[in-house]
Amino acid sequence: MSKVPRSFRLLEELEKGEKGLGPESCSYGLSDSDDITMTKWNGTILGPPHSNHENRIYSVLIECGPSYPDEPPKVKFVSKINLPCVNSTTGEVVKEKFHTLKEWKRSYTMETVLLELRKEMATPSNKKLLQPQEGTTFE
């Protein structure tokens, strides 16, 4: 398989996100539709059922740097959340604590990140974690 360059890869992801072709449980789009470098993205994750996240919608910021997708994106929660892999003051997803970013593969996408974060919320040890009040945000 040939290596799809960053921009065309991001355009593919954008198209999938825009058309809502992905799963219902997450969504993503460009933060600034004028940004030709397509660096900053907004994502949402629908909290998984049977967990303290149920019915919540979490907003995250995703930053795809110049080396994406060879390097993982930077991910930061906007909505407050209590998760071991998320820095409790900044909302940043800590790369070393989140396997998808730590063992990043070129074939992973922003959708992979969002879906894996959602799975993380649903693990037996995380799903009953006490959560901050709904609607609060990180600074």
């Binding site: 398989m1 065309f8 355009l11 954008l14 198209e15 996100g17 825009e18 058309k19 809502g20 219902e24 969504s27 993503y28 789009g29 460009l30 933060s31 600034d32 539709s33 907004n42 994502g43 949402t44 629908l46 919608i57 907003s59 593969k105 070129r106 074939s107």
Partner: protein, 483 residues
């Protein structure tokens, strides 16, 4: 898809969009969207019923190629059935040295991805054997007219049956494949995962297994070919009849041409397009097919709102026959005029026994100047003047090697219809359950006729309720049938 997907002028905030989506699922939205849905639902249910009715009767209609005995092509196949079919297909794509026609083969060299070799292999093999389509010749990257006879033979001798496979492709990295000889691989699945996740795993694993199986099959075929070639060299007597003689190698490749699509060099003649008489190799020809079912692309007035695809009537889905890559004439097809003098292999003389006519008598003449042969070839290619109709018996169209296009189109229509029938069912059940739902009023007050419609409002409401009920029942029935 192409590189220009949707428009970017739509609201970008996904949170916002998510909300819209869930709203439409909760049926809170009002206005035109609802109207659309109802209007669409009406035609949808009717069309859906007639479409599936058609599909069912088709499958028992021998005029369409199906009779009571052959399996219904619309019947949902189990994953295992699908895997078996794929494996059978992949086996047919293995290039074998002894399946040879006029110095070429019945399966492609591998210039294109395996996923794209979705043509009907049986049909193509038969067309090649009947000499109605050029065989899959092993291509040369380059040909130099100054090469001597010995050089040409040496180069052709060194050609493999199939191009090399990618070693451990990244795609299958970390995917378990188990014992390839064992058909059963359920034990590789994570039994604690959800059904959907297991299906996903299964499809990944079976794809990887098939890849490695194919590599194995082709490698065994290659080894056999190499062994025989070596044996042929050692024992000049009793040559394997399927291996080409030096004369055959030479005459084929000395008289070759470049395919204008892949730029590779093949023995002449190539297939010729029926419309504009341009050459095309068989490997490229089998790649050309109808576009997947899609909604027609229309020029639109940018000042008007457009209807999104998911609200369109599935019956509008189209799939046009492939166009000629050279002149864009519809219904692409080719003809092929084989060289009569190289009829070897299946339904011909032994490839090992082929001799260039009178070669022995005028060795010097032929080896340094093939002008005589060239003349002969030129006349062969010129037999066909003008273009030929797509339904001419000598024409092989793109559709004829992928005869299932019609089934695929109907399947896609049914799939879309099912999807929207489900959405409609949910939508309407919500309206029925909650008579005060705002969308209910919106749809009732504006969906049938204007205020001057003649019917009293009460009467109209009654009819609509009946219609709602009926549509809901049909939609539910249909979604149940299909699962």
């Amino acid at each position: 898809m192409g590189n220009v997907p949707g428009k970017i002028d739509s609201p970008q905030d996904p949170a916002n969009r998510k909300q819209q989506r869930s709203e439409s699922l909760n049926f809170g939205s009002q206005g035109p969207k609802n109207l659309n849905r109802n209007r669409r639902a009406t035609s949808l249910v009717g069309n859906l019923l007639s479409a599936s009715g058609r599909a069912r009767s088709d499958s028992y209609n021998s005029a369409n190629g199906y009779n009571g005995n052959s399996p219904n092509p619309y019947k949902k196949k189990s994953l295992k059935e699908k895997e078996k079919l794929k494996e059978k297909h992949a086996r047919q794509l293995v290039v074998k040295y002894n399946e040879t026609v006029d110095g070429g083969f019945l399966a492609p060299f591998g210039c294109y991805n395996f996923d794209k070799l979705d043509y009907e292999a049986d049909i193509v093999k038969n067309l090649i054997i009947e000499r109605r389509l050029a065989p899959f010749y092993t291509p040369l990257q380059e040909f130099d007219q100054t090469w001597t006879r010995e050089e040409v033979i040496k180069i052709v001798d060194g050609l493999p049956l199939h191009c090399s496979f990618q070693q451990d492709p990244e795609e299958f990295e970390g995917v378990p494949t188990g014992d390839l000889a064992d058909d059963e691989f359920d034990y590789l699945l994570d039994s604690t995962a959800s059904k959907r996740e297991q299906r996903r795993q299964r499809s990944k694993i079976s794809k990887a297994r098939l890849y490695f199986k194919r590599v194995g099959w082709q490698e065994r075929a290659n080894e056999r070919y190499l062994e025989l070639k070596l044996m042929n060299k050692k024992h000049t007597e009793a040559k394997n009849p399927a291996l080409p003689s030096d004369d055959l190698k030479y005459t084929l490749y000395k008289n070759g041409a470049e395919c204008p699509i892949c730029f590779l060099y093949f023995p002449k003649p190539l297939n010729i397009s029926r419309c504009c008489k341009q050459p095309i190799c068989t490997e490229c020809f089998v790649q050309i097919k109808r576009a997947a079912p899609h909604f027609p692309h229309e020029e639109v007035d940018p000042t008007q709102d457009q209807e999104p695809d998911e609200l369109k009537d599935p019956n509008l889905l189209v799939s046009e026959p492939a166009n000629c890559p050279y002149c864009a004439t519809a219904e692409f097809g080719v003809t092929y005029e084989p060289r009569r003098d190289v009829r070897t292999g299946i339904n011909g003389i032994y490839a090992s026994e082929y001799k260039i006519a009178e070669y022995k008598d005028r060795e010097g003449l032929v080896s340094d100047s093939s002008s005589n042969e060239d003349d002969e070839l030129v006349t062969i290619e010129q037999i066909r003047r003008g273009s030929i109709a797509a339904d001419d018996p000598s024409v092989i169209t793109s559709d004829s090697i992928r005869p299932d296009w019609e089934i695929n189109l109907t399947k896609e229509r049914l799939r879309l219809a099912r999807r929207s029938a489900k959405a409609t069912a949910i939508h309407m059940s919500n309206q029925l359950i909650d008579p005060e739902h705002p969308s209910r009023h919106a749809s009732i007050s504006s969906s049938v006729g204007g205020p001057d419609g003649g019917n009293s409002p009460q009467r109209r409401q009654k009819t609509l309720e009946e219609l709602d009920d009926e549509m809901l029942q049909q939609a539910i029935k249909l979604s149940l049938q299909d699962h």
